[in-house]
Amino acid sequence: MENQNSCKLLIDLHIKFLRQFLFQAPKNFVFYEYTRPTILFFMISGLDILNALNVLSSEEKLGICDWIYSQQVKLKPENDIEELRKCGFYGSRTSTVKDCDNENLSQLNVGNLAMTYSSLCTLIILGDDLSRVNRINTLKAVKYLQNENGSFLSSVVCGENDMRFVYCAMVICYILNGFSYINIEKTIQFISQSVHYDGGIGLKPNLEAHGGSSFCGIASLFLMDQLETALTSIQMKNLKRWLIFRQQSGFQGRPNKDVDTCYSFWIGATLKIMGMFSYVNWEENKNSILLCQNTITGGFSKCSHTEVDLLHTYFGLYGLSFMNITGLNEMHSALNISMRAYEHLKVLHNLYKTNSYW
């Protein structure tokens, strides 16, 4: 059906969609309560893709940065390893209370690599100078959350440890210029052990290869500047094949699964990092994402018959940005922020290096 309307990217509508719950969110957002920094990141970085950060006043931007910093774990005087592992940023405010120094409650506010990662990225996107980040402790938390096998725990309470948190740890180290805090060899080893027989990368060794974990693995290697050396040329060749084969119209995350909007980002970005994105069929990919655009409410859904959500809106837009679409900012393929935000980060790095802060 030549429906012109469904093939056009409705930028203004998506800006509205991303902006609408930035400060006040409806009841059903309680399902995201534990991960508000991630939700916030989708909104802010999504607006950045749409080149629309100017819909926020500078006061609002500052307010958001203050809020993020209010979720940074407070320093305890005693600095033993167990305490340091809890540093960084937390997600849920379940145990945040006013004027209360209750020891039991504050013990539940522990940092989480995914939240630290989203918080730092959002700060950079908003133009913050990261001066209020407790850099050393955050990096020490990353250091002490690394496992024997090279992977990283998400936090001391969650017990999850897989490729997602390897990626979060690498971005944190990249942003805070702290690769010296972690064991790079072990990290590389964990990633290469998770390369699967079919060429893709799993969340852990032995687990099925998956679009999301392939991105996390490859982006991590790229950020460590190890992409050219960590994997063999055969591994690289097989991975490229596996990634390219994920395209059906849009992309699927695993063989024989349905196409899903977010994999236009996960797979697309991985191909982009590996210099292979030009071999994707752009037209099919573009149309597939746009089919999931809701032309009434704005936003994107996972597939054309499901409800729109923030994650798929964000990754749908990101996926589109790889194909030079007018109105979308150029995005960094490994850091999950815009090139504009990346330039800001570079300025900060230079600044802190010359003042030998970092």
């Binding site: 309560e33 916030l40 071999y279």
Partner: protein, 473 residues
Amino acid sequence: MTPERLEVAATVHIDIHLMESFAHVGQCENLDCQRKCCVQLMQVATHAKSCAIVKAENRYKCHLCRQVLALCAIHLENCRNTKCFIPFCIRYKKCKVITNEHRRCRNMSKGSSFEIRVGFSKEEVINFRKFRKFVYSQIFSLKKMDDNSSDENSVEEWILYKNRPEWKDIESIPQDDGPYPVVSINYSERYSDVFNYFRGVVAKNEKSIRVLMLCRDALTLSPANYTVWQYRRLVLKHLNSDLKEELEYVADVISNHSKNYQVWHHRRVIIEWYGDATNELAFTEQMLQIDAKNYHAWQYRQWVLTTFKCFQNELAFVNEMLKNDVRNNSVWNHRYFILNISEEGFSSKIISEEINYIIDKLQICLNNESVWNYLRGILLHCDSEIIKSKIVNFCTELYEKDHHGDHSVHLFAFLADNAVETVENKTENSKENIKFALKLYNDLALKYDIIRISYWKFIIQELCERYSLEIEI
């Protein structure tokens, strides 16, 4: 129109234009109407009609029908045309009456209640409500977001903690969102109440049975809240609670939230404490029956297998799973995993058996990427040319037979890659093999795998450069 085109036509988002075309289709009595919308929508609608006749209860599962019925539901709101052709339109008009049982009795003038009862099963009415919900969620998702979440809609009456005398001793502590809240959630009264008391007990460091109940209420409202899960574990440990009961509880939560990392992690910790994983394989099997590709379930199963060393019957389980769905990539992965950790490993006996198994499965379904990938995995461990030639011969035969119809992209790719590999390993005449590979890659690029044309051209170019050949595409 090909089925794919139909699908595209049907999945285009419900927008105003589409609704207008739909209305036109409903009124257009010209069966040869050449208006594009008419031709296309009529075909989609015809599909829905015939599909529904075959099996009414499957309608909601059929992706195509779902789209049409969604359109029907909106259309219905405005359609006053009693002769409307839209499939289900008239039927659902009546159906709508049924949902308003009481008003129906009063308002219905004609004695058509008999017809209604004949026309609609209870299931159809339920399905219709689902469709409506789906449609409204598409269009009014913003409005809907502020409705009560389903977990709070339970029929039983809920008493707030602040009104429960037995909780009088606990201070209700509100959450602090700071002076400038961001993504500030409009919590329901029940949510705030439960979490105020959660903070109350944490502040007092109370670890008691009633706290377990409170955690349960909190997790019903926010199942991924790892803070609550963590505190729950502290209480369980402190009380030395009955872990069997906890396992039942978490099984229940997992079946409702099977894609949530926290719940699977909780189960794992409880099993570690419990020390007995006898039921865990059966449990994951149950979860896999709901979603056979659930990554969490497979990951958990791998953990159980390696931790408790209980893989005796695992290969039989895999065979059964592949019988159900030979295209389930997770199961193929699991098969590889089991062989990989088994004592025997990839012995030449195992490899040879696996090759036979693969040939079997390829005969069921040739265009199944999972098997082809698995084959590559198995061949990684194979250094016997005899075993390898068996599968290569099988493929070559297929290729030579297959000059018409179903060309498998994966078959072509496998043979081409294999030809290149034999040259690289210097086992065979190079020129012939490279030529053969080029032909296959070319066919993929231009005929059988057009979506990847740029990629195959890239492969061809690379190959030609490596062997200093002229590129001809």
